[in-house]
């Protein structure tokens, strides 16, 4: 039974990481940009929900998601559009600057103290069955990650702008020549990443109950790793990578003897490193991204 509990825990942690990875993976696929400010979109969404905590919960979570989307679209317009064709490393540096800006902005206004909030009390409930405990939030997280991933796939396959987005991620110049409006496509991609960040924000706030200006950092780093492990350029890969890292984290947390537990993070990254050495393309390899030689 305890293994089942760990499995549920793993899926819950993995689901959150998958949501975060999806957001980063989408932008990476389109623009080869690892948006280091993605976690800060989540942070802004959380602070928005904190400020709206007094309202009824649909308003609270909607407000959070809307803010995350807005910040995503604004940062794209101001910080990333001028750098559209620049070297990926320069784009990465720009995303550092954006992240720095957002964190200090919130720090200046709200202070560095961790503030407690309970956004949707219903999510705290847990279903107890035998010795298993499944929180509503766990189920919510798993459902959310599946729905959003499914929705995103449909969007990319069936809608016009989705198809344009895929075209632009394969070959921007050609796409533009064929009439794809790249500005609109990129802005839409960022808006979607904002939506994904907002969704992840709901999960994070539901789980932790705290807002902190630095709360996005670790998630960004994990999502970054998850995307690479899962396979760059593949959305399914990002989700699988997220679940993989989450499962690894929970499994190690359960199995490791006490003496080694403080080194858990190091072990996770050792596994990641070894995996990348043997399969650099990630779990799901995208042909277009393989080096020609």
């Amino acid at each position: 039974m305890i293994f089942l509990q760990y499995a549920i825990d793993a899926l819950s942690v993995g689901g959150l990481y998958a949501l975060a990875a999806l957001g980063i993976g989408l932008i990476f696929g389109i623009m080869r940009l690892v948006n280091f400010a993605h976690g800060d979109l989540l942070m802004m969404g959380c602070y928005a929900m904190f400020m709206l905590a007094a309202a009824i919960w649909p308003v609270t979570i909607l407000g959070g998601v809307v803010i995350a989307i807005l910040v995503a679209v604004i940062t794209e317009r101001i910080a990333f559009r001028p750098l559209r064709s620049a070297d990926p490393t320069i784009l990465l540096a720009a995303s550092f600057a954006v992240s720095f800006f957002l964190q200090n902005f919130v720090l200046m206004i709200m202070g560095g103290r961790a503030l407690g909030v309970d956004i949707v009390p219903a999510l705290n409930q847990h279903i107890v069955w035998d010795s298993l405990s499944i929180s509503v939030l766990n189920l919510f997280t798993i459902a959310l990650s599946v729905i959003l991933m499914g929705g995103l796939s449909l969007f990319l396959a069936r809608t016009r702008i989705g198809i344009h987005m895929r075209a632009a991620s394969e070959d921007v110049r050609m796409a533009r020549m064929l009439g794809v409006r790249v500005n609109l496509v990129v802005a839409t991609a960022f808006a979607i990443s904002g939506l994904l960040a907002g969704a992840a924000a709901i999960v994070v706030l539901g789980k932790t109950g705290l807002v902190l200006p630095t709360m996005g950092l670790r998630l960004t780093l994990i999502a970054f790793v998850a995307v690479i492990v899962g396979g760059m350029g593949s959305l399914t890969g990002a989700v699988i990578g997220g679940y993989a890292v989450g499962i690894l984290e929970v499994v190690l947390g359960g199995l490791l003897p006490l003496v080694i537990l403080p080194y858990r993070e190091a072990l996770i990254f050792t596994v990641v490193l070894l995996f990348l050495l043997f399969r650099p393309g990630g779990i799901i390899r995208v042909a277009a991204l393989k080096e020609r030689v």
């Binding site: 305890i2 825990d9 959150l16 202070g111 103290r113 407690g116 309970d118 932790t208 705290l210 006490l258």
Partner: protein, 394 residues
């Protein structure tokens, strides 16, 4: 060329004048107290209260005529939560003539500033660094901390849990990323087993902002032997752990230390119950000691809001201590003040009885207020002083 020369001479003279004027002090000038602390950045929440406490103490002392007939004034410099910047901040307050310097409530963050200030020959206080290294051995003979040392905090909690609550079996949950947590937990375990208690389970995680505590909650729940959980965490991770633990249906009492002080995080775990912690005093207006309630009232009036945590009292008391030592020494000479401070035996300060010796510049035998949270409200239980503290290592 001539113009250039005269400009350079004039510039140099101006610099000298500026340099000299800051040194010369008329006897009516106030005594400057420097605070080289984090006014911005992530450590600021821990320094904010002590600074305000210090300012209140200065106001109180000035109202009674100052120290040795001289008024006090406070200058600040921002370390920006950057340990390296601490040196610059200390230099800044020293340049403004600081006679005594207060630094950050943490050894790691306050050490650089303290090293600089003590090197300049000024008595330096950390408001609430709990590491015994913040003293003679780690920094120098002019360094003091107003805290109750971490080993003593651990012993206090262990003894209270064992003797007052009658608990016997503990599950220890620790964040291994910060020295304070490691020291708290290891000293607790030592004292706990000394008393005859049993450690029936342990768990560790290593990051300040872990999001998902499902694994920790499951492990905790699995352990059905424990009477209570001892938690070494702070307000940036502890509340999340508690939330997920309680959500998993784990309702065993949880005991924590002053790093969980404050009610600004309670919203994270609505209607929290069976949560116990030690604090320097209750900032919620219900401390058994009327002096502390008075302090809260005056602080609220001066600063427009109640103190977020009781650490602010350490800022108040370090000012009390220095002023007392100066009065006794009859001078502002740092060495004379040091000698008086080292003679402190259970001096009655706001934060509690305070003692220093030439070797020990941290408190080990002072009571902490044990509080409980039931249904989301803080209430005081008792003030408890440890009888025996595990040996300290520097």
């Amino acid at each position: 060329m001539k113009l250039l020369m005269s400009l350079m001479i004039g510039f140099t003279l101006a610099l000298c004048a500026a340099g000299f004027s800051s040194k010369a002090q008329a006897n009516d000038d106030p005594i400057v107290i420097g605070a080289a602390i984090a006014l911005s950045g992530f450590v600021a929440p821990y320094d904010d209260g002590p600074l305000k406490g210090l300012q209140l103490a200065v106001a109180d002392i000035n109202a009674k005529g100052g120290v040795l007939g001289r008024q006090l004034s406070v200058v600040t410099a921002d370390t920006k939560s950057d340990p390296a910047q601490g040196t610059n901040a200390a230099i800044e307050v020293l340049e403004q003539g600081a006679e005594m310097v207060m630094v950050t409530c943490d050894f790691d963050f306050g050490a650089a500033a303290a090293l600089q200030a003590t090197a300049a020959g000024k008595v330096t206080f950390s408001s609430c660094a709990g590491d015994p290294k913040f003293g003679v051995q780690g920094i120098g003979p002019l360094a003091y901390t107003m805290s109750l040392g971490t080993p003593a905090q651990a012993a206090t909690l262990a003894e209270w849990a064992y003797k007052e609550k009658g608990w016997r079996k503990v599950y220890v949950q620790m964040n291994s990323m910060v020295e304070y947590f490691k020291s708290l937990c290891s000293n607790f375990k030592i004292r706990w087993e000394e008393l005859g208690g049993e450690i029936v389970g342990e768990d560790v995680y290593n990051f300040t902002e872990v999001k998902s505590f499902e694994g920790q909650a499951t492990r905790m729940k699995q352990n059905t032997e424990k009477d209570f959980v001892f938690m070494c965490a702070a307000t940036f991770d502890g509340p999340s752990l508690i939330k997920q633990v309680r959500n998993a249906g784990e309702n065993t009492p949880i005991l924590a230390s002053e790093s969980m002080d404050g009610n600004f995080w309670l919203e994270a775990v609505p209607n929290l119950s069976e949560f116990y912690l030690s604090v320097y005093g209750s900032m919620f207006g219900n401390d058994p000691n009327p002096q502390i309630n008075d302090y809260v009232a005056k602080y609220t009036e001066m600063h427009g809001q109640a103190p977020f945590t009781a650490h602010s009292m350490t800022g108040y008391s370090l000012m009390e201590a220095w002023a007392l030592a100066a009065e006794r020494a009859g001078s502002f000479d740092s060495d004379a003040i040091r000698q008086e401070l080292d003679k402190f035996v259970n001096e009655d300060l706001l934060v509690g009885p305070t003692s220093y010796t030439p070797e020990l510049h941290i408190n080990l035998y002072r009571g902490m207020q044990i509080m409980e949270v039931q249904n989301g409200k803080h209430a005081p239980i008792t003030r408890y002083t440890a009888e025996k503290v595990p040996p300290i290592t520097f």
